[in-house]
């Protein structure tokens, strides 16, 4: 019964039976091969990217002359976060950490909301990080900036 459909062994001139049986063997073979292929080529970890620009070594935030919004920068130190927009300096945010030693960013989120209320067209921010800042903290802050409506993030080293 390899291949094809079993149409019965009807005699000469006799009525062929209406019930036919689909041969599932090649179908199951195809499924097995497909599953093997998909399992072998599967990517189990979902990896994405956070795109940033590099401001170079200088800590001065870049600002084009056509851009009316004042340059926004965030100084990241091990103890506090200092947000500034042009000449306006916001209150420093002390760095607090959660149970997994992850930096807590609720206060920074509130500051960003306040900032976006004042400067709704603002899109760019420059992060100035100190040498001792962990990469994970930097990434979390970049993620927060992108989530709070500042998608153009550039990274620079803090001076001093």
């Amino acid at each position: 019964m390899a291949g094809g459909m079993d149409l019965g062994t009807g005699g000469k001139g006799g009525k062929k039976p209406l019930d036919t049986q689909i041969n599932l063997v090649p179908f199951i073979d195809l499924m097995a091969v497909t599953i093997s292929f998909l399992i072998m080529t599967a990517v189990w970890t979902q990896i994405g990217k956070l795109q940033v620009a590099n401001s170079g070594a200088s800590a001065e935030p870049s600002n084009s002359p056509e851009d009316k919004t004042p340059p926004i920068s965030l100084l990241i130190t091990e103890k506090e976060l200092r947000l500034s927009a042009g000449t306006q300096n916001f209150d420093p945010i002390p760095v607090t950490r959660g149970p997994n030693n992850k930096i807590e960013l609720d206060k920074l989120r509130d500051k960003f909301k306040e900032l976006k209320g004042q400067l709704p067209d603002a899109q760019a921010i420059t992060l100035q990080a100190e040498d001792g800042i962990r990469y994970e903290d930097l990434v979390r802050i970049i993620d927060e900036c992108k989530g709070d409506g500042l998608p153009q993030v550039s990274v620079a080293a803090a001076m001093g």
Partner: protein, 193 residues
């Protein structure tokens, strides 16, 4: 009296025994039908699940045990580009070891000359290849993927970033593990056109 075949004849008690056969239980049927329907159903579900999770981009990054990526929500799909791997001990670019992190933290230079040189070489290769193929659309965009361990200090990272920028790779892509689905992600990892 009925005629019997010559041979051993068990007693009345043993004739019902399973061991000596000829019991009242009879032989079980050898052929058993395999239930195909649930098997096919299971296969279909597995295939659909795997196709739904299929990533056409494949593995852009080579995952390493000594590099634990940080997590982020607002991510976009990672693309093929040179990969700079920064672990707690080593810096590797596309499989080539560049230097040890301990050595790099000692000196006070802003760049990493070996990294810069390697990236310049890769950039030249890319440009030459596309010039030979007369490919005007695939011009050099300056994308580089940074695959760094989450515990690496910015002291090392700033040198890596600076070296990338001076070598012409200005679009820095930090590789992260996607966590949930971000609201601000313009094209999430499910794919962009």
């Amino acid at each position: 009296m009925a005629i019997e075949i010559p041979g051993k004849r068990w007693g009345k008690r043993l004739s019902h025994s399973k061991v000596f056969g000829h019991g009242s239980h009879g032989k079980k049927q050898i052929y058993a039908d395999l239930l195909i329907t649930p098997l096919v159903d299971m296969f279909v579900i597995i295939v659909l699940f795997l196709i739904a999770n299929f990533s056409a981009t494949g593995e852009v990054l080579m995952m390493s045990h000594d590099i634990q990526l940080p997590e982020a929500f607002n991510v976009t799909e990672i693309e093929m580009a040179p990969v700079v791997m920064v672990s707690n001990t080593d810096i590797v670019v596309s499989g080539t070891a560049i230097g040890r992190v301990d050595d790099l933290t000692k000196d006070e230079y802003l760049n990493i000359p070996a990294l810069e040189e390697k990236l310049r070489e890769m950039k030249k290769q890319y440009e030459d290849l596309h010039a030979l193929a007369k490919d005007t659309e695939g011009s050099f965009k300056g994308d580089v993927n940074i695959q760094a361990n989450k515990d690496v200090q910015f002291k090392v990272m700033k040198r890596v970033l600076y070296s990338c920028a001076t070598a012409g790779y200005t679009n820095l892509n930090f590789a992260v593990l996607q966590k949930g689905s971000g609201e601000g992600a313009p094209s999430a990892a499910t794919g962009s056109p």
